[in-house]
């Protein structure tokens, strides 16, 4: 990988850490009292979660009618949020698995939080297909189980059934991957924590890990196997999500470009979300030495690449519609760009394609504030991308008599806010109680880029930090 060559000269971890220092510094966040900033963040997130719970409770008690949907637009915020969160959930596994397979050692600083983000994002995503049901208490019917109805199985031809399997698999594999990566660190925590209660807890979850190298060897094999499985899984999951749309007959949905387009979009939005979180985390938790501008820089380049792919997809859609000579297809795309939801379309184009182009400038890539702002904008843009795909394709489809407009209700907004609340609540709890950075991996990577392994590295790298192509 070219990336490797570019990154090799600069140390991955600044400050010339020694392994013991790594342990104490990373565990510091879990062992000292929570900072007021953490509490503030937690309360905000929990408040949002409470709003979401209230919205969903109201939804369950009253009906899906409390959302702004109608006979023509059967999905809007619900599936937008679902695809959005699933997309977010993709960067975690991507960073962990794909970069692991490509031996991108810079991943060690961010993979843990990225994987946690995946888990929480998939939880957030998984909620929506359930709550959007008319009769959510029957959601389990989507799985085939022996029953007294004949037995009546499920429709394996339905992309929603595929979805159910894909998301379940993705969640389980991601969870396993995350947990597996955390076992050595949990053992470290177990041996490090002064609290008896916590020791017992960590002891339970660390499964009796003792750092035996024979286990380590198998562990590395399993980890690599999982990474190898997770990589096509990431691609398949978002491909399947895109098939929810691509296999339909609705113009604007029925497009073969969707799988690569969605996967690229997912990685794009996921990476942006990782950036947002990591930038906050390194500041709040004083992990600047572990998450260095180099990491951010590398992720920015990834953003630039995926933004390009997404932009290309936007253009391609218009091109296919143009040469299809299909009146319905052409209309849908013109309606996106010029119709009543044009504002959403242009937010999407600006935020996802135009603004990320700023990342061509190295100075901006190195400015955490700028990257933070751009990453947030990308998240907004990617949310709108899904909204536009779903709503504008539905609200004006084949028969003009069916055309309607969609307007969200407060309950829907509350549910969206609630999903962010859930995500950040989980993430903040994770930061508080688990090592946000994979200690065992960082310890293995601290020598990387240093002139002589094992000895303290100079403060500044003697080599040029980066070679421009």
């Amino acid at each position: 990988m070219a990336e490797l060559a570019l990154l090799a000269p600069e140390p991955l971890i600044a400050g010339g850490k020694r392994p013991g220092q790594v342990t104490s510094e990373i565990l510091a966040t879990t062992e000292r009292r929570a900072s007021p900033l953490w509490w503030a963040g937690f309360l905000v997130a929990f408040g949002a979660l409470a709003a979401g719970i209230a919205s969903v409770a109201y939804l369950f008690s009253t009906g899906v009618g409390t959302w702004g949907l109608n006979n023509t637009v059967g999905w809007a915020f619900d599936i937008t949020n679902f695809v959005f969160w699933i997309g977010i959930g993709h960067a975690g596994t991507l960073i962990s698995a794909i970069l692991y397979l490509f031996r991108q050692r810079w991943r060690t600083s961010v993979n843990r939080s990225a994987e946690a983000m995946t888990i929480f994002a998939v939880i957030c995503a998984g909620i929506f297909p359930v709550i959007h049901l008319g009769r959510p208490w029957l959601a389990y019917w989507i799985f085939p189980y022996p029953n007294t109805r004949g037995p009546l199985w499920i429709n394996f031809r339905s992309p929603l059934a595929w979805d159910a399997f894909a998301i379940t698999t993705y969640f389980l594999i991601s969870l396993t991957f995350w947990y597996l990566g955390m076992i050595p660190d949990l053992a470290t925590l177990r041996d490090h924590t002064p609290s008896r209660f916590r020791r017992r807890l960590y002891a339970f979850f660390s499964l009796g890990w003792d750092g035996s190298f024979r286990t380590w060897l198998r562990y590395e094999t399993v980890y690599m196997l999982l990474a190898g499985l997770a990589t096509p899984l990431v691609v398949s999951v978002h491909t399947i999500v895109s098939w929810d749309f691509a296999t339909s007959v609705i113009p604007g949905w029925h497009t073969t470009i969707f799988p690569p387009y969605f996967v690229a979009g997912a990685i794009f939005s996921g990476m942006a979300m990782v950036l947002t979180l990591v930038i906050v985390a390194r500041k709040v938790m004083r992990l600047e030495d572990y998450i260095t501008p180099r990491h951010i820089d590398a992720m920015c380049k990834f953003l630039l690449l995926t933004s390009g792919i997404v932009g290309l997809a936007y253009a391609t859609e218009f091109l296919t519609a143009f040469y299809s000579e299909n009146r319905y297809e052409q209309f849908v795309f013109l309606n996106r760009a010029l119709g009543p939801y044009a504002w959403g379309y242009w937010i999407m184009v600006v935020a996802n394609v135009l603004i990320p182009q700023l990342l061509w400038f190295r100075r901006l890539r190195r400015s955490t504030a700028a990257v933070f702002a751009i990453s947030i904008l990308i998240n907004v843009g990617m949310w709108f991308e899904r909204f536009i795909i779903i709503v504008t394709s539905l609200h004006r489809d084949y028969l003009p008599a069916n055309w309607t407009m969609y307007r969200p209700t407060l309950i829907e907004v509350g549910t969206l806010v609630g999903s962010f609340g859930l995500f950040f609540t989980c993430f903040l709890l994770f930061c508080r109680f688990l090592p946000v950075i994979s200690m065992s991996e960082v310890k293995g990577a601290i020598q990387f880029g240093r002139s002589r392994p094992g000895t303290p590295a100079p403060e500044e790298s003697p080599l040029p930090a980066e070679v421009h192509p």
Binding site: N147, T148, R149, G150, P151, L152
Partner: protein, 217 residues
Amino acid sequence: MASRLTAILLALASAYSLLLLRPKIGSFRLPGNQQGYEPVQPIAYSHRLHAGELQIPCLYCHFSAERSRHAGIPAASICMNCHRFVTAPLGALRAEDALASKEKRAPRLIVSPELQKLYDALALNEKREPDPSRRPRPIAWVRVYRLPDFVYFDHRAHVNAGVACQQCHGPVETMERVRQVSDLSMGWCVNCHRQANQAGINGRQVHASTDCAACHF
């Protein structure tokens, strides 16, 4: 050593509790499954006696099974077709006669307490003549076989296709009190339809649809 003992004790305890719970577990049914339901009816009408011993055809009373969705519970007037004349078993009548002559009174016309309920429902007096001072009151039987409201079962289709009543209702002619024999689950319906399509009914080719809309609309 102590832990091993505890484990053995625990295993024994759980085995014992399983043994205790066995009837409960054996009778476990999914919700909605009323198989084995055998409610007490307002009149202790015996299908064993009428359909079994006396061999009255099912369709004599449940005649609408041929022409309607519902098999129907016969009207009291159908009962009266016979019970206008038959008021009790011969033995009971003789016993009453004997008792009456012993007590030196006229024998009562209505001996059976169950038939008394029928005559009461029709507001008949002791001579089984309409009693204008009383109001007829219909007999509220307890429904045994019940399907959810989203299922449309049609007796007419089955009876005319030659499906025996006992196929679903079991040996009613042997039951004192009617019991729900089949579990009335969808799988039970569908399997019968499948078998009928393959094997026919009484050697006759039939088309028993397994379309959803055969029952759900």
